[in-house]
C-alpha cells in the first residue's frame, strides 16, 4: 500500500482508475505494480503527446485553440495515433450526411 502512496505523489492520474480500465480488458488476471506504474506514467505522456501534436498539426496554431477536429485529423494522418480513428470519426455536416443517405437509398431502389 505504501508503494501506491508513493506512486500517487509522482503521478497526476489516479492509479486505481487506471487499474480498473486495464482490468476491463478481456483475459487480464493480474497486473504487477511496475506494470501499473508504467501504464499510468505512459498515459500522462500520451495525453501530452496527443494534445501537442494535434495542436500543432491542426488548425490549433492559427486559432490558438485545440478542437475536436484537430484530434480527428491527427488520428487520421499520424501512424502512431491511427488506432484512435474508430473513436474519433470526423464530424460531417448533417446536410451532407442526409445527402449521402439519399444517394444510398436511390442505389438500393435500382434493384
Amino acid at each position: 500500500l505504501s508503494g501506491e502512496n508513493l506512486a500517487k505523489k509522482t503521478i497526476s492520474l489516479p492509479i486505481s482508475r487506471v487499474r480498473l480500465i486495464m482490468k476491463s480488458s478481456p483475459d487480464v488476471s493480474s497486473i504487477n505494480q511496475d506494470a501499473l506504474f508504467l501504464t499510468t506514467k505512459a498515459t500522462e505522456l500520451f495525453v501530452q503527446h496527443l494534445a501537442l501534436s494535434s495542436f500543432n498539426n491542426g488548425c490549433g496554431k492559427e486559432t490558438n485553440s485545440l478542437s475536436y477536429s484537430d484530434l480527428a485529423k491527427t488520428a487520421e494522418e499520424s501512424e502512431t495515433f491511427h488506432f484512435l480513428t474508430d473513436i474519433l470519426p470526423k464530424k460531417i455536416l448533417a446536410r451532407d450526411y442526409l445527402k449521402s443517405l439519399e444517394q444510398m437509398q436511390e442505389e438500393d431502389a435500382d434493384f
Binding site: 509522482t10 480500465i21 508504467l38
Partner: protein, 203 residues
C-alpha cells in the same frame, strides 16, 4: 496488487449460510477515489450504471495535463477534453491487450513491466520507453529507501521527502514525433501540485 473481486459466496466470505440474512451481501472493492465519478462526461455522473467501456480517467486530471502541454495561452475546447478522455481509455486498453497477449503466450498470469514496455514498442510508442524506464528506476530507488528505514512508520515526513525527490526535473530522452533524440527536462508532478511539463517537443 490485490484483486478486487466481489463475492456473495458465503464459503468464500468465511461465514456460514445461517449468518446471511435474506438478500445478498456484496463485498465492495476498496476504492481510493472516493467521491470521484467514473464517467465524467456529465458533472456528478453516477458510478452505479456504467458499462466497462465507459470507464474514464477524471476529466479534470486529463484537462490539466493537456493544458500544460499546449502553449501557455492556448485554449482547449470542451469536446476536445472529453475526446481525449475517451482516447486515454482506448490507449490503456490498447496497450493492455497487447501486453496481456504476450503474457499468455509465455504462460504467465501476471502482466509485468516488461510486458507493458514491449507492448509500447510494438504498438508504435517506442519513444516512451526510455523515459518510462528512467521513471521506473527512480520510483524503485525511492521504494528501496522506504524499506531501508526500519521501524519508522511511513508518515508525513517520509512522503514529503520523497515528494521533493520526484518534483526535481528528471532528464529524459526525446519524445519527438519525427523520432529525433533530444534531451528534454520532464517535470513530474505531485498529485496536489500543478504540473509544469515544459519543453517536450511533440511536433
Amino acid at each position: 496488487m490485490d484483486g478486487d473481486s466481489s463475492t456473495t459466496d458465503t464459503s468464500q466470505l468465511g461465514i456460514t449460510g445461517e449468518y446471511m440474512a435474506s438478500g445478498q451481501y456484496v463485498l465492495q472493492p476498496q476504492d481510493e477515489d472516493g467521491e470521484e465519478s467514473m464517467n465524467d462526461h456529465e458533472e456528478g455522473g453516477a458510478k452505479e450504471n456504467y458499462r466497462e467501456q465507459d470507464i474514464y480517467l477524471p476529466i479534470a486530471n486529463v484537462a490539466r495535463i493537456m493544458k500544460n502541454a499546449v502553449p501557455q495561452t492556448g485554449k482547449i475546447a470542451k469536446d476536445a477534453k472529453e475526446c481525449v478522455q475517451e482516447c486515454v481509455s482506448e490507449f490503456i486498453s490498447f496497450i493492455t491487450s497487447e501486453a496481456s497477449e504476450r503474457c499468455h503466450q509465455e504462460k504467465r498470469k501476471t502482466i509485468n513491466g516488461e510486458d507493458i514496455l514491449f507492448a509500447m514498442s510494438t504498438l508504435g510508442f517506442d519513444m516512451y520507453v526510455d523515459p518510462l524506464k528512467l521513471y521506473l528506476q527512480k520510483f524503485r530507488e525511492a521504494m528501496k529507501g522506504e524499506k531501508g528505514i526500519a521501524g519508522v512508520p511511513v508518515g508525513e515526513g517520509l512522503t514529503e521527502e520523497l515528494t521533493d525527490d520526484f518534483t526535481n526535473p528528471l532528464p529524459a530522452g526525446i519524445i519527438t514525433a519525427d523520432g529525433q533524440q533530444q534531451n528534454v527536462m520532464v517535470y513530474t508532478t505531485s498529485y496536489q501540485q500543478i504540473p509544469t511539463v515544459q519543453q517536450i517537443q511533440f511536433s
